[in-house]
């Protein structure tokens, strides 16, 4: 942490460029809420930020167990690209939270602990033999043990809460302290509490009181203890109107924006699955915007309902995660064969099979690009940050409707839940790509292609004179009637491939995110690894290495200049949270000996892991 000259402030605060805080506690301790509110205040303050919520696998594990620990990490400061490698600060609300998270804390890092929870019973539940607050095992860290539970109870005493309800305010006490420590407001949180508990004002009041008490504690304790306040410099960001969004929100709104741009209503058919369900929940609230959501009996029915909807002239959208996408495969083939628009969102999670549903991974790229019977090409695009989900969703709708094709949109559990500040676009200024349904019966042929896009006409039931039949059997290349003619099958196979390949001419050329052409090494990534790769490459460049970063949004077809671009580099390294899937795509597309850097642990890359790998490959060790 670098130290800057402190700005004038009530008490002189040390100024930092960036900080990583992890809030950790029992699932019932409200750490996600505390984290989200800290994020909100931080965004309002004007820091750049990135978050990483890490939920336990269990719905509600028995209190105090290690597998019930819930954590929320936030990285904020001047310029932030990842949610941070090792936290600078760990807030541990109980022994289990300490046990699970201590290994990640930076040596010398700060630890705020609720010492009231370090009872024998809780230590046993967490499987700890001795009390770390007493056995000196925390010596490498800066520990601040506080009686958070007790102080919370005292603060809200007299507000008429039960002991249980009173204790549940301790996340806000802690939040108050952390807000003080990093010099941010409490206003948004106060408002949020008032609104959230509008029906139970005593709960709102108690939480606000706890929040203020935690804050006050920081102010007063400062002089007498080792608790210090810091300033974190604001980010230099584009001016405009901002908000924070999670990847899921951005995705939902992007789909809607895309549908608006196309002039369509959305019919969204889905079946709940972690981590895709939040998109269903989000869209279910958008009825007023022309979104119909349908919770189907399974994933097959979900995708089929979306296909039926597209057939009837709406924008059919479906979503799932890997195992559910597997079930949709056959029906996606139907959409490819009948050439109907469809957006399929895959919120990837760790696999194979049920895998680790709450953990993030990028291991469904093969499935997306190659995972169908027959020659069944389909565009695949991937989001790389929470806010990027908005643009990628619009792009998915654009491709689906312009090219009359299903489009697979890959996102990741990590992106779905993580939040970041977003410069809100003006909806009226977003690009439009209005759909023109076929209405003229004159010379209508269901499979006559647009010479430019190779798309067939979209002729929806209800249109007089266009009555026609389509299906999954091979179709005559003009009339769409069933055809067993060998040449026609060859022609249609070629046409389907050409249509998708042609999209390469309708997407931007690949840019270099950082660095220049012709270097020693280029790191090629996709999806949520954007942050760590970018940070690592910048760091390596600062060290003097001739390294570059390329990040791919259009996975299939690949940008038309990508082969040439990669050809300018001596070596190509592909860091992925899978066993090398974009890697196969690049190697086979360009016949280049690209190499992989693979991490399949359910956790995002650390910047340091990528940096170390760059060093190893470049043979240096700076």
């Amino acid at each position: 942490m670098e130290t800057h000259t402190a700005e004038p402030s009530p008490a002189p605060r040390e100024t930092l460029d960036a900080v990583v805080i992890r809030f950790a506690g029992d699932s019932g301790d409200g750490m996600q809420v505390a984290g989200a509110q800290f994020t909100q205040e931080t965004a309002l303050f004007g820091n750049d930020l990135a978050t990483f919520p890490d939920f336990p696998a269990e719905i509600r594990a028995p209190v105090g167990t290690t597998f019930g620990v819930s954590a929320f990490q936030i990285h904020f400061g001047v310029q932030v690209r990842t949610s941070g490698d090792a936290p600078d600060v760990l807030v541990a609300m109980n022994p289990a939270a300490l046990k699970v998270n201590i290994g990640d804390l930076k040596l010398g890092g700060l630890m705020v602990v609720d010492q009231n929870t370090f009872t024998q019973r809780n230590l046993t539940k967490a499987g700890m033999e001795s009390n770390p607050l007493e056995d000196n095992s925390l010596a490498p860290y800066q520990v601040i043990p506080l009686e958070i539970s007790k102080m919370t109870l005292e603060a809200v005493k007299g507000l008429g809460l039960s002991q249980k309800d009173a204790l549940r305010c301790k996340n806000f006490w802690t939040l108050g302290l952390m807000l003080w420590m990093y010099d941010r407001d409490r206003e948004a949180t106060t408002e949020w509490l008032a609104k959230k508990f509008a029906g139970r004002p005593e709960i709102a009041e108690a939480n606000i009181t706890a929040l203020n008490a935690g804050h006050a504690f920081g102010e007063t304790a400062e002089l007498s203890s080792n608790i210090t306040g810091y300033s974190v410099a604001k980010a230099k960001v584009e001016p405009g109107l901002y908000r924070t969004v999670t990847g899921t929100e951005a995705l939902a709104w992007g789909l809607l924006a895309g549908a608006r741009a196309a002039g369509l209503k959305i019919v969204f058919g889905s079946y709940p699955i972690t981590p895709a369900s939040p998109l269903l929940h989000n869209l279910a609230h958008l009825r007023a915007y022309g979104v119909t959501t349908f919770q189907a009996e399974d994933e097959i029915a979900a995708v089929c309902s979306a296909i039926g909807a597209s057939y009837a002239g709406a924008l059919g959208v479906t979503s799932s995660s890997g195992p559910g996408i597997a079930l949709k495969t056959e029906a996606i083939g139907l959409a490819i064969s009948t050439e109907l628009p469809l957006v399929i969102v895959n919120a990837q999670r760790a696999g194979p099979s049920t895998g680790l549903p709450t953990k993030t991974e990028q291991s469904d790229l093969h499935q997306a690009v190659y995972g169908r019977n027959g020659d069944a090409p389909m565009p695949v695009i991937a989001a790389s940050t929470p806010t990027d989900c908005f643009e990628v969703a619009i792009e998915a709708v654009r491709l689906a409707t312009t090219y009359m094709t299903p489009v697979m949109l890959l996102t990741e559990g990590y992106l779905a839940n993580a939040a970041e500040p977003w410069l809100i676009p003006d909806a009226d200024k977003l690009p439009k790509f209005p759909v023109k349904f076929r209405t003229d019966p004159e010379n209508f042929q269901p499979f006559a292609r647009n010479p430019k896009t190779l798309a067939r006409p979209w002729a929806v039931p209800g249109t007089p004179g266009l009555e026609h039949r389509i299906g999954g059997l091979e179709k005559d290349s003009v009339t769409g009637d069933i055809s067993y003619d060998p040449d026609n099958h060859q022609h249609m196979t070629d046409a389907r491939a050409a249509k998708i390949n042609g999209i390469a001419n309708d997407i931007p050329e690949q840019q270099i995110q950082c660095g220049e052409t012709g270097g020693d090494l280029v790191l090629v990534g996709w999806g949520s690894t954007y942050g760590p790769i970018n940070q690592a490459v910048r760091h390596a460049r600062d060290e003097g290495h001739d390294v570059a970063h390329i990040h791919i949004r259009h996975i299939w077809p690949l940008p038309r200049n990508l082969g040439d671009l990669l050809g300018t580099f001596d070596r190509v390294l592909v860091p992925e949270m899978n066993n090398g899937q974009l890697l196969t795509l690049l190697r086979s597309s360009f016949a280049i000996p690209a190499e992989g850097l693979n991490k399949v642990s359910g956790k995002p890359f650390l910047v340091s892991e990528i940096l170390t790998d760059i060093h190893t490959r470049l043979g240096s060790n700076s």
Binding site: Q40, A43, G46, W192, E238, P239, G240, L241, Y242, R243, T244, W253, L256, A257, R260, K265, V267, G269, L286, R287, A288, Y289, G290, T292, F294, A296, D298, I300, A301, A302, C304, S305, A306, I307, G308, A309, S310, Y311, A312, A314, G316, A331, G333, L334, T338, I424, P425, D426, A427, V460, P461, G462, P464, L466, E467, R469, I470, G471, G472, I482
Partner: protein
């Protein structure tokens, strides 16, 4: 564009050559459906025939309406999507016993339960026609087929009983060759708001010929078929002197003869389409002890899925501004 003269059955034929086996029961159904469509007077452009895969599922190709030949078993889900996108369309689903009750069983029960406003025509030939004759979920125990050379060992499923178990609100049954009676059943199905299931007993001349002859043969038809009419006593037989009654003090239905054992008209059950218990009994009646029930077994309308969804939607102002949505919740401005 829309023809002003009323459409005839012929107007509902497409230009495609019909490719079922000569003598297949599907031909008769096709004819009757075309005739019924003409009577109904729905415009072709508002009519969609959806199907899965199977011989039966070829049906849409032979109609001049919109048609979607989808994938095996998934027709109900596709049809649901069509109705969600455009509730104005008149959607028919054509499916086979394998398509609807084997691979598609789950979608069938859910489309019934949700009461999506479509007509489902289930062509039951008790066999997989298209894949060359394997036994199906409706095949009787002991059916010899390429996959059961020693005879099948499973209890057959009754489409009607399953539909009732799945909370379906309209269940009917008819026979491929009953070109006089079928239109009425189709009309009723069409008129019913919600999901209507019509089982059509259909002869597969190639792989399961005469499987219904014990019911449909002229010589036995009168004794082995009962044609239901709501509010009318349930009589059958060539001389309409046979009838159904509840064995007193039980929940069992039996066939009786008027005039025998003191049975009079008054003992005969009157058909009540809205009685689910009666429908469950009718659904599984089988010769020789009982006649097969034909006509509308059950019809008890309830709100349709589409109505319920749009009721919720209408309570909201449509097409709100996207900008408002993006700006909902907490925002802040960074000065330029």
């Amino acid at each position: 564009m829309t023809a002003t003269a009323p459409l005839t059955a012929k107007d509902f034929a497409s230009d495609q050559e019909v490719r079922w086996c000569p003598g297949c029961g599907d031909y008769a159904i096709l004819k009757t459906v075309q005739r019924t469509l003409a009577q109904l007077g729905t415009p072709r452009e508002n009519t969609v025939f959806v199907s899965g895969i199977g011989c039966a599922a070829r049906f849409p190709y032979y109609l001049s309406t919109y048609g979607f030949h989808t994938i095996h078993g998934r027709g109900p889900a596709i049809a649901t999507g069509i109705k969600l996108a455009n509730p104005e369309l008149d959607v028919w689903l054509v499916t086979g016993d394998g398509d609807a009750l084997s691979i598609g069983g789950n979608h069938l029960i859910h489309v019934l339960r949700r009461n999506v406003d479509i007509q489902i025509l289930l062509f039951n030939n008790e066999i997989y026609g298209l894949t060359k004759g394997q036994y199906s979920p409706t095949s009787r125990r002991g059916t010899r087929s390429p996959s059961t050379p020693k005879g099948s060992v499973e209890a057959p499923i009754s489409a009607a009983a399953l539909a009732l178990g799945a909370a379906g609100r309209f269940v009917a049954r008819t026979v491929d060759t009953q070109q006089k009676r079928m239109p009425d059943v189709l009309n009723r199905a069409h008129a019913h708001r919600g999901a209507s299931l019509v089982e059509i007993l259909q002869n597969c001349i190639v792989f399961n010929d005469k499987v219904f002859s014990h019911i449909t043969d002229k010589s036995v038809a009168d004794e082995r078929q009962i044609h239901l009419e709501h509010g009318k006593p349930m009589l059958f037989g060539a001389e309409r002197n046979r009838g159904l009654r509840v064995r007193p003090g039980t929940l069992k239905v039996e066939a009786v003869t008027l005039g025998e054992d003191g049975i009079t008209q008054d003992d005969i059950l009157v058909h009540d389409e809205t009685d689910r218990t009666l429908a469950s009994i009718l659904a599984v009646m089988e010769p020789p002890t009982l006649p097969v029930a034909l006509g509308v077994l059950y019809c008890d309308p309830a709100p349709t899925y589409g109505e319920s969804v749009s009721n919720q939607q209408e309570s909201l102002a449509e097409n709100q501004g996207l900008n408002d949505l993006l700006r909902s919740g907490r925002t802040w401005t960074v000065a330029g």
